[in-house]
């Protein structure tokens, strides 16, 4: 879902620019939010009214919205008034060109998202694990899904500024997947994935600042990927190395418990 929604944000950014002829960060992310929410709404609509599965619906919306965004971007570039430069950086991100007001807006949005998660932490967990049971406890599944979509879109528009619409989904997906290798607890997994995301952001930005003209977003995503690789192999709960060590220890244990090999064997050797 995050992949489709981050791509679906692009046309909103461009349309917002076309209307206001301004590269104001706040206006642009409002455009992005509306467009991503529209994408989410269309995905739900397709899913509930046709026989198309959600995977297909997401692929459809992703491609159409992103294609539309690119077309609009070309239009903007044609009617160039010298002001649009940097608009296409929404595709790849522009973390290096963020200014103070961008940081403030991003922080406020992020704090809102975190607050909403904290308010209903166990309810969110239940919704993700067993929605039918959640319904039995009188939780409004529709309402919670709507709020979930809204905070997902908020998270996406925050990240778009940093890494762009294409790589944003990587930032949403990779840290939690990496965290899953270290813990079996939902709460710890949340903290860890936040930590991993933050680490990737910090290290990636620092590296890109070392060279001139090195792109920030891609570096962040690369570091994120590196953290995933480390987790995959060395993760304390499901990591490949750990699993292998457990397997080997068990094997030795079992071998030790086995009776010594038979001296007399029947049949031919």
């Amino acid at each position: 879902m995050s992949d489709a929604l981050s791509h679906a944000a692009l046309p909103g950014v461009v349309i917002s620019f076309l209307i206001f002829q301004e590269k104001d960060f706040f206006l642009l992310i409002i455009g992005a939010t509306i467009s991503a929410l529209l994408g989410a709404f269309l995905i739900m609509l397709i899913k509930s009214t046709t026989r198309i599965t959600s995977d297909t619906a997401m692929g459809l919306i992703l491609a159409v919205f992103f294609g539309g965004g690119i077309v609009l971007l070309t239009v903007v570039n044609r009617n160039s008034n010298g002001n649009q430069a940097g608009l296409d950086s929404f595709i790849y991100g522009q973390a290096a060109s963020m200014i103070w007001s961008d940081v403030v807006i991003t922080t406020i949005l992020a704090a809102t998202v975190i607050l909403i998660i904290l308010i209903g932490f166990k309810e969110w967990k239940l919704l993700l694990f067993d929605p039918n049971f959640a319904k039995g406890l009188n939780l409004s599944i529709k309402g919670m899904n709507t709020v979930y979509l809204i905070i997902l879109v908020l998270t996406i528009v925050i990240g778009i500024q940093a890494v762009g619409v294409i790589l944003m989904s990587a930032l949403l997906i990779i840290p939690p997947v990496s965290a899953r290798y270290w813990t079996h607890s939902f709460r710890k997994m949340m903290w860890l994935s936040g930590l991993f995301g933050g680490m990737a952001g910090t290290i990636g930005t620092t590296i890109s600042a070392l060279g001139s003209g090195w792109p920030t977003g891609p570096f962040i995503v690369m570091i994120s990927g590196l953290i995933f690789l480390l987790s995959l192999f060395f993760g304390a709960k499901k990591g490949i190395v750990v699993e292998y060590l457990i397997f080997r220890n068990k094997k030795n244990e079992v071998l030790k418990l086995m009776p010594p090999a038979q001296i007399v064997r029947e049949g031919k050797r």
């Binding site: 904290l118 308010i119 209903g120 932490f121 166990k122 309810e123 967990k125 239940l126 993700l128 694990f129 067993d130 039918n132 049971f133 319904k135 039995g136 406890l137 009188n138 899953r180 813990t183 079996h184 607890s185 939902f186 997994m189 709960k237």
Partner: protein, 251 residues
């Protein structure tokens, strides 16, 4: 005996296929009822429709003489084991505590007494030793018992269980049935979707034959007859008077 569940002229469909048609029955308090019927008879659908998890086309359902939304706290549900992702990052104790989320309320975290209660429920189903085990590392029967513990902790008056005995071994089956009998003793009512005709007589006191509609419903002694089984399952099951067993007819 009062009726805790009244269903009148209920029907439901998946797309073009009518799965349930004109289903009417009442469940008296303190009974252990099993719902039996062939695959595709609408057993699971019936429970989902009753609990509002699947829309109905027509009919009325009343719980304790009221609409479900007013008495949700008095109704517990044990879903089929396959309905959730068991790789979810959580442990057995945590899953059981989910049964109390309604009481705990928003913002607040479960405290020590909630944890104690959850442990008690796990003890009841014989799973106390597995409290901190990641749920994907539990066997099928253990997962089923965790679900049962989660329902028990809700302290409901009416329970719906969707095939709680599917794919569990004999020991687990006995443990689960002992708990269901205890619930009955406490005056609670349990509806179970069941598959094994051989154990119906031993485990339950009421039977509801379902095949798209109610074929027969009543006390085991009067209703669980060869004739009703044949009516429900068609010719595919032959009921052997002597030596209980199910024989698939040759085609």
């Amino acid at each position: 005996m009062t009726d805790v569940l009244q269903v009148e002229k209920l029907s439901a469909a998946y797309r073009k296929n009518i799965i349930l048609n004109d289903v009417s029955f009442t469940i008296p308090q303190g009974t252990l009822t099993c719902i039996v019927g062939p695959n595709g008879a609408g057993k699971s659908t019936l429970i989902k429709v009753l609990l509002g998890l699947h829309p109905n086309l027509s009919g009325d359902v009343s719980f304790f003489g009221e609409l479900l939304k007013n008495v949700k706290k008095k109704v517990g549900y044990v879903p089929q084991r396959g309905s959730v992702d068991w790789d979810f990052p959580t442990d057995a104790l945590d899953v059981v505590m989910m049964g109390m989320y309604g009481q705990i309320g928003w913002v607040k975290w479960p405290n020590k007494s909630h944890k104690e209660k959850a442990l008690d429920a796990l003890r009841k189903v014989g799973m106390a030793d597995y409290a901190n085990r990641q749920i994907s590392e539990l066997s099928g029967g253990q997962q089923q018992r965790v679900f049962l513990a989660r329902a028990l902790i809700q302290n409901a008056d009416l329970y719906f269980m969707d095939e709680p005995l599917a794919g569990v071994d004999a020991a687990t089956e006995r443990a689960i049935m002992a708990i269901l009998r205890e619930l009955k003793k406490e005056g609670k009512t349990v509806l179970v979707v069941h598959h094994d005709l051989q154990t119906v007589e031993d485990y339950f006191d009421q039977v509801l034959f379902l095949n798209r509609t109610v074929v027969a419903h009543g006390a085991i002694t009067s209703t669980f007859t060869a004739n009703n089984i044949k009516k429900t399952y068609g010719g595919t099951v032959r009921w052997l008077k002597e030596g209980i067993g199910i024989v698939h007819s040759t085609i």
